[in-house]
Symmetry: C2
Subunit: 213 residues, 2 copies
DNA sequence: CCTACCGATCGGTAGG
DNA sequence: CCTACCGATCGGTAGG
């Protein structure tokens, strides 16, 4: 009862963050106006600035909500796996599912990397570096075990997989229609081929069953 | 002599197109102002609108300059190759070189796909469809010859390679610093790993010498 | 190619 | 959470 007001404010903040992510993702930060975001939420523009002091702070809050998700998700993802193949499959599935669940996430993340490379580089370094290092360690372990190809460049490989995952989702509406109706591709086809490419490039035996050691 | 004036105007148009591509690529279409573009060229804003009737027409002219390059380049690229491996190497090298030569090209292309998916889809369909169909035909030929893996989805594969090529160049400044100084990656490392990923996912024998039939 | 200028919209503030 | 309003900047025009 004492936090009824707080709960309502929390709901409103979440509604604003959702609308902002969609608008920023679709129109870009400069292209999206506070007016359009306020309209989508159903409030007046100054009311929006009561919850977030400025457009820039609103953007940072959206960014933070993405980072928080992965800071909570990554630890479990990387430890709960019985084999290298499982680890690859569950990690890339979680990565792609998260962005496909709401494509605005992929578009927003891609735009931020284009608009503010220095800031995004700093955020990644600060929040994601230990987890990325863990992935490269696993790849090197796989190489010693003979499960992962020797010619894989672990750091470069991670960049390619992340670029494919975010890029494929963010550009889905463009690329799916690259071919005539007769050769139309479903989202599942595109994602499936992405996983296949990542798998073939990584594993000595890409089609190995679940257990590999 | 009679076209001295025309030559000067052509030079000015080219200077404006260059500045516009850099500004659009770095700041986005909405984020880049005509004033900033005019400043970079060293003329007044209304002078810019004498050469291009509106900001939107200037954007379309930049887009057209990218498409024209590939409409001229692709025919030669796809026919001048002695083997499937050569075709893959020369095509992906040309693709990546073109974007690396001026990274604004990759950023601008990526932003346009995000900002105006319907328009870009239409442009690709109109200008690039026959060449893309030729590439899928080559992949299917390679599969019949036993050079290309049977589980490749030709359409999906092309999407992944294009996403990797454009995304890797456009996001180079962000991704290169994902790792500490001790594991720093050069552009060549990143591009090399991209080519390796594409090759391993495509060929039955990724390390085959030049001739394969 | 320039100076001078236009209406519209932007992010943000005052005050309640 | 709202109405009313601000200065700054936007793309674009008039006129030379």
């Amino acid at each position: 009862m004492e936090n009824k007001q707080t709960a309502r404010q929390g709901d409103m903040r979440k509604a604003i963050l959702d609308a902002a992510m969609r608008q920023f993702g679709a129109q870009g930060y400069e292209g999206a106006s506070l007016q359009a975001i306020a309209d989508e939420v159903g409030i007046a523009k100054p009311s929006l600035l009561y919850h977030f002091d400025s457009k820039n702070r609103l953007r940072k809050a959206v960014l933070e909500s993405l980072l928080d998700h992965w800071k909570n998700e990554l630890p479990g993802l990387l430890s709960n796996a019985d084999s290298e193949h499982d680890r690859f499959t569950s990690t890339i599935t979680a990565l792609v599912s998260y962005f496909m669940e709401d494509e605005s996430r992929a578009r927003f993340a891609l735009r931020e990397a284009l608009d503010r490379p220095a800031e995004i580089r700093g955020l990644i370094k600060k929040h994601l570096t230990p987890w990325i290092a863990l992935v490269t360690d696993y790849i090197r372990l796989g190489q010693r075990l003979g499960v992962v190809k020797q010619n894989v460049n672990p750091e470069g490989y991670i960049i390619q997989v992340m670029t494919m995952a975010i890029g494929t989702v963010a550009l889905g509406h463009v690329s799916a229609a690259l071919f005539g109706r007769d050769r139309a591709l479903s989202k599942e086809d595109i994602i499936g081929e992405m996983v296949r490419v990542g798998r073939e490039a990584l594993f000595v035996n890409p089609m190995a069953p679940n257990k590999d050691r």
